[in-house]
């Protein structure tokens, strides 16, 4: 939505802070480089080589589902404890902590990110020698090497993941601050160097080298960035580890970055940074941190797909390098590496400011296996209410209730469907969330009801900063109950945001979340109704006058944890509490919808995410595809970019192309900055308006398919918007492709993102597949790139031969008016004359589906027979939706007749056939979606 720029500019007059920045690019100075971050510098300075750590063999303790052991740092003599456990579905978890820390280290509570304590699975002890321990987990092998310490994972005897193979494990144990130590003390420490067994406290015995190094290092006990000083009361606490992927050239994930989908080597740049920040007018194609963080990476090649999840909420940096596998090492274990040519390998290096090392290794071996493995850990997006996957109309700001009424009426006048109209910060009484500007929105309930009378919804923004005003009851309540984040001295944290001086509820505290949830009750949020949903912005959090525009790292959360420990999950927990609040409001009946800007692993459970304050330029349209692919890959499926671009005034061509692209991205919302010209679709020149209207209508016709895809990802994990390799894992030419993508398994989309573009090369995957243009029914053979004309009115979208896609061709004013409408099945036959697909349906808005009130139907076409059967016997639901039409593409000759059989009743159906497009149209089977039938082409 918005950024601090405007506010900052206003503040210049008052504070004389100079913010002379170009209005078109990020002010990089506001954000740290690795060089400006003490721990980043320290970890990055390490050079790959033999690790200082070895396994203390006598501590190795193998149990049925886990191995425990201790690691010794041979340089510092500090000991660490390691637990490797086997988890269900070929997943392993490695936790490394201090043996006896002087202060407990932060671990993310179960439920915040992980849905539950992961279920364990047996580890088979295959072999233990003095050098190593070999374990089996399903079809995979895990080898723990003792001296030096490393762990290697093998799938079918091929190495796929190596831990500490580069020797970069570094664990800054908590220590007491050494007050300018006299020389003799150092001497003493040196004498007592010999390691003791057992319970020694690491900080008492630093080896001389480390001690000296520490003294030279200036950033350990205090760090300064710009005018901000981080008091670092607990000193250095970072942890780091390298993870290599032998055999893999490509790694993906770790959003959010405005960068390519296939991650790039960071040899000549900063590492990829994960630290939730409000970045004004972000730059493209660099590793700078943005609003959210998902520390999940996947590696993919023709044979295998693996993933890792770095379960840590602190600031994290990731270096990526291309390498070749160490054949010497691996040849000892497997024959595979005896070949001559080099095996590519990608090395990654992860380091976080605090917390523990808690790494999940997901062994695949196929993309969908990894998706499922990750889904088991952090969950999936519950089936969104139908309206939320339709079209959203937003702007900063719709000025008042008349404005809302007019936009709503104009959309109807121009017959452009939409489902939700949004209100940004100006709707409040002085940026006090949960309130209304009484002059502009004097009758908010009437306003919402008027919008809802056409099946639509509204969304208001609720940010986590609370105006410090004792007459503002939300703040006063939070203050009196002591629910607010504190500064390092234990007083209420004070920062500037939209309302001026503000405070922030401590969402890391479950009690605070409970309190927040109650604020959404209709009795609490005056002027709201059940048709009002929520938008969480600025939840990184954005603090205009804070370091890097966010909290101070030494700000305090509950249990005394510092923001440095929990920073990256704060925004995620804001959204979680908000979604739970909306659920509470309807007494667990209605599904909530909450959009968030900041997020973490697991945020997919709470709603939608958007890519923040983008710019209305072609380059930002283009980058929306890789950014959304990265988010989808790591489970954040319900993601979108502001259609049109938040800043600037794009021309009608760019707007048109953006609406077309957005119509085929998961979260579809247009949005614009308060300083931009109005750009509701009906304001476009007539020709553009019509094209945009068609794009939005196309979205509505595909809603049953979108809904089904969302349901399937809810059940199985994985992306809604997919990279081609997710469906074609062996097709190497797709590995770096991020300008085209798949929606679900069957729709191929290549948005036009070039100014003046009138066509594009589309790669049609699958050497044995065929693809059909959804508009013209033109047929394309897979396995090659083909130039496709795409004048302004056309967005290149293709349906895979072999698929059945359910659509609703009666486009209404909103999806809410389409619940009962009939279905058209679009069937594209493959080269064998077969096709299959499914459709999921329920009541489209309540949680009843989680209690078995749903329908999941399977459509199969083969041997000239189409069957509609139940795909899931657990689901029972009566729907009014009926099948109005069946279109089959790829029928080679006109049938003599078409007959439908329902139970024992057989009946002829009217049909038409067009030999030019090999299209067979069957009129009105007329059956309810839930009715089994067989249709035969005679």
């Amino acid at each position: 939505m918005e950024t601090p720029s405007l506010w900052v500019m206003q503040q210049i007059l008052v504070t004389l802070i100079l913010l002379i920045q170009s209005s078109v690019a990020v002010n990089r100075d506001n954000f740290k480089t690795c060089q400006q971050s003490g721990f980043c510098k320290r970890h990055r300075a390490m050079t790959p080589g033999q690790s200082a750590y070895e396994v203390i063999t006598e501590t190795v303790n193998v149990q049925s589902t886990s191995v425990n052991l201790q690691l010794l740092n041979t340089v510092t003599n500090v000991k660490l404890t390691l637990e490797l456990s086997g988890l269900e579905r070929s997943t392993a978890r490695i936790k490394i902590n201090e043996v006896e820390p002087i202060k407990q280290r932060y671990e993310i509570p179960i439920g915040d990110v992980l849905v539950e304590e992961p279920k364990r699975q047996g580890l088979k002890k295959l072999e233990q020698t003095s050098q190593s321990l070999t374990l089996g987990i399903e079809k995979n092998k895990i080898v723990i090497s003792f001296k030096p310490f490393r762990i290697d994972f093998y799938t079918e005897d091929e190495p796929v993941v190596s831990i500490n193979a580069q020797g970069l494990l570094k664990f800054e144990h908590y220590r007491h601050k050494q007050e300018a130590q006299p020389e003799e003390n150092v001497e003493e420490a040196k004498e007592g160097e010999e390691p003791k067994e057992g319970d020694e406290n690491a900080e008492e015995k630093p080896a001389e080298e480390e001690q000296k190094k520490d003294e030279e290092e200036p950033d350990l006990w205090e760090e300064t960035f710009k005018s901000f000083t981080d008091s670092k009361p607990h000193g250095p606490s970072s942890v780091g580890l390298d993870v290599s992927f032998p055999g893999f050239e490509n790694v993906y994930g770790i959003p959010e970055h405005a960068d390519d989908f296939a991650l790039k080597t960071t040899k000549d740049t900063d590492p990829y940074r994960l630290f939730n920040l409000d970045v004004f007018e972000y730059e493209l194609y660099n590793p700078m941190a943005l609003y959210g963080a998902v520390p999940v990476m996947m590696a993919h090649n023709e044979k295998n797909t693996v993933g890792i999840f770095w379960h840590n909420a602190a600031e994290t940096w990731i270096d990526i390098k291309s390498n070749v596998a160490d054949k010497n090492f691996f040849s000892k274990v497997a024959d595979f590496f005896k070949q001559d040519s080099d095996i590519p390998q990608t090395d990654t290096h992860w380091f976080s400011e605090s917390g523990v090392i808690d790494l999940f290794v997901m062994l695949g071996p196929k993309p969908k296996d990894v998706f499922k493995q990750y889904a088991v850990l952090t969950g999936t997006t519950p089936v969104p209410p139908l309206f939320s996957i339709a079209y959203h109309q937003c702007r900063w700001n719709y000025n008042d209730q008349d404005d809302v009424r007019n936009v709503d009426a104009n959309m109807d006048k121009f017959d452009i469907p939409f489902d939700v109209i949004w209100l940004d910060i100006e709707h409040t009484d002085g940026k006090r969330y949960f309130t209304w500007d009484g002059n502009k929105f004097s009758h908010s309930v009437d306003m919402i009801n008027n919008v809802a009378s056409k099946g639509r919804k509204m969304v208001t923004i609720v940010d986590p900063h609370l105006k410090k005003d004792d007459n503002y009851k939300v703040y006063a309540d939070a203050k009196s109950k002591d629910l607010l984040v504190k500064n390092k001295d234990g007083n209420e944290y004070d920062g500037w945001c939209w309302p001026g001086s503000s405070a922030w509820p401590d969402f890391t505290d479950p009690e605070v979340r409970k309190w927040w949830e109650s604020k959404f009750l209709l009795s609490e949020y005056e002027g709201s109704t059940n048709d009002l949903h929520t938008w969480n912005d600025m939840n990184e959090p954005s603090v205009f006058n804070g370091p890097e525009i966010s909290f101070h790292r030494d700000a305090k959360h509950h249990h005394g944890w510092e923001n440095r420990d929990v920073h990256n999950i704060y925004g995620h927990l804001v959204q979680q509490a908000t979604a739970d609040g909306l659920i509470l409001r309807s007494d667990h009946k209605e599904r909530p919808f909450v959009l968030t800007r900041s997020f973490f692993a697991g945020s997919q459970r709470n709603g939608a995410v958007w890519t923040g304050d983008n710019i209305g330029e072609w380059s930002h349209l283009k980058v929306s595809n890789p950014m959304l692919l990265s988010l989808n890959l790591v489970g954040i499926t319900f993601a979108g970019a502001d259609v049109g671009g938040f800043f600037k005034n794009p021309d009608p061509e760019l707007l048109t192309r953006w609406w077309q692209a957005g119509a085929f991205q998961p979260f579809f919302r247009s949005h614009a900055h308060i300083d931009t010209k109005r750009r509701e679709p009906y304001l476009l020149p007539d020709n553009n308006m019509k094209i945009v209207r068609n794009a939005i209508r196309a979205r509505y016709t595909f809603l049953p398919y979108w809904y089904t895809v969302f349901y399937n990802t809810y059940k199985n994990g994985g992306p809604v918007m997919q990279p081609l390799w997710a469906e074609y894992p062996e097709d190497k030419s797709t590995f770096k492709m991020d300008d085209q993508f798949l929606i679900g398994p069957s729709l191929l989309v290549k948005p036009i993102t070039e100014q003046g573009g009138t066509g594009t090369n589309v790669y049609f995957p699958g050497a044995n597949d065929v693809w059909y243009d959804i508009l013209t029914a033109e047929k394309y053979l897979g396995g090659k790139s083909i130039y496709v004309n795409a004048p302004l009115e056309k967005i290149p979208v293709f349906q895979r031969g072999g698929s059945v896609i359910p659509r609703k061709m009666r486009v209404r004013r909103s999806s809410g008016l389409m619940h009962d409408d009939p279905i058209t099945l679009f069937i594209c036959l493959d080269r064998q004359g077969k096709a299959s697909g499914d459709m999921y349906a329920d009541d489209y808005h309540t949680f009843q589906y989680q209690k078995g009130k749903y329908l999941h139907r399977q459509f199969t076409f083969s041997n000239n027979k189409l069957t509609n059967s139940n795909a899931d016997k657990n689901g029972v639901f009566e729907t009014k939706e009926w099948i109005e039409r069946i279109l089959i593409l790829g029928v080679l000759k006109k049938p003599n007749g078409v007959a439908i059989k329902i139970g024992n009743q057989q009946q002829q159906l009217a049909f038409g056939y067009d030999p030019n497009t090999s299209l067979l149209a069957i009129k009105k089977p007329g059956t309810k979606l839930q009715e089994d039938f067989v249709i035969t082409l005679l």
Binding site: M9, I774, F911, A921
Partner: protein, 559 residues
Amino acid sequence: MRTLHTCFIILAQLLCSSITNATIGRPRGVSISMASLYQPAEDGTFTCLDGSSKIPYEYVNDDYCDCNDGTDEPGTSACPNGKFHCTNAGYVPSNILSSRVNDGVCDCCDGTDEDAGRIECVNNCKELGKKLREEQDRTRKLQQEGFEKQKTFSDEGKRVHEEKIARQAELEKERETLEVTVKDLETAKLEAESPETEAKDKHQKAWDELKAERQAKKEVEAASLAFKDLDTNGDNSIDMQEIIARPEFDIDSNGVVSEEEAKEHLEDKESVDYDTFTKDIWPHVKDIYKKPTREEPPPEVDPAIEARGEEAQTEQIEPPAPGQPPSPPDEVDEDGEYDDDEDEDDDNDVDEPGVNDQTVPTVPITDRIEGEPELILDKPSEEKDEDSMPEYDEETKKLIEAADEARKNYDEANSKLKELDNELSSIKSYLEQDYGPNREYAILQDQCFEYTDREYTYKYCPFSKGSQRPKNGGHETSLGNWGNWAGPENDKYSIQLYEKGQNCWNGPDRSVKVHLKCGLEHRLLSSSEPSRCEYAFEFETPCRCSQPSGGTAQPHDEL
């Protein structure tokens, strides 16, 4: 491009065998006027209204779209391009989009669009019809009344228009004669001015020479006095010791006059005699040298203050206490710098050779600070007479008198011409202004209207500008200046555009669209800002009222 959409329709080519038919009532969603087109043909078919295909009659309203033009489904939502006719008995009939049929929203007041049980619609056509008639009556009355007023405005506008044209002709004629007069007077003026200038120049030159002479004399006197004063041992020459004894010659301000310093003042000589002193040394030391002080010196006029002019007048209320730096003004930065600059300038002035303290100000100051004569009056007056130029001789005076007379005559005539031109140009712009088809809007010229909301008072001056100012004080912001009529082609006079107002930070220049509507008074009704810095005013005026036509869309009572 053949699209899949048209492919849906291919079924229409199907022929269906046996359909018995009888005369069937008007199908759902068809208006009476179209009913005849929906009779089944003899062979039991229906032909799509665009003629594109023939389908079995039973396909009409079977909730499946068979016709390209959507005409087979007038009563269902099956066709994407279809229309549904609501009779709306008691109100106005309407055709709604097929997509609004049976979607759970009542769109027709008779509720006929919803027959699928999704929603119960109440027939409220009668109430709406009643309201509509009342509204129409009100509007008609308003239009009629407003139109009467409009006519008077229009007559007035036309009358003024005629007047202006007549006046224009009159003025143009007048101008022709006046232009000749002005030319003649200008010639006369130039003739009178030439001898006047010559005489004045001569007088001035003589005076300048006299002044220079006096000045030189003064210098010599001053040098001689100084020589006497400095020559403490009376040996008719000034040596280094005599210089060293005088603290004002301390160049580096270290409290002592060194030999080097003394030498420098004496231009590397051990001693100088009277002639050398007056000629070579005096010009360099006269500003350093301090006269023996016996009595209070006259208040020194600080050239810095004078030079600062207006600003010094208003800000430097109290002179700084001697020996102290000037107290910092409130706005430190700018003024501090400004002062510094001025000081430097002062130094430069002082260092300029040959400029006498006392003669500096008069002439240049009057040039620099127009309209601030007080400074000059403050000058010590005894020197004034000596400094003023003597009166002109009689002959010159006469020449001046003659020239003054010629100038006056010319100026008078010329300003009359300018006045005339001004009036002409204002008439011209009035005549060129588009005051509406009947010049009815001319009445609004030179009027302003205000509207006040919570925060601002908005001001609308038709054909001139729009502006706003905060209610609780603060200055006016221009929202735009008169641009043009900006209504749509068929209704040009519905909107006025005022543009190029004050620029918005990070945005466009402000502008206002004024939406005009019929009303009995001129009244600014509202102001809003639909888009950042693009304002919209609503203004009612009789000028927008038009004569109500006889019979407009009347609610009908069809059953």
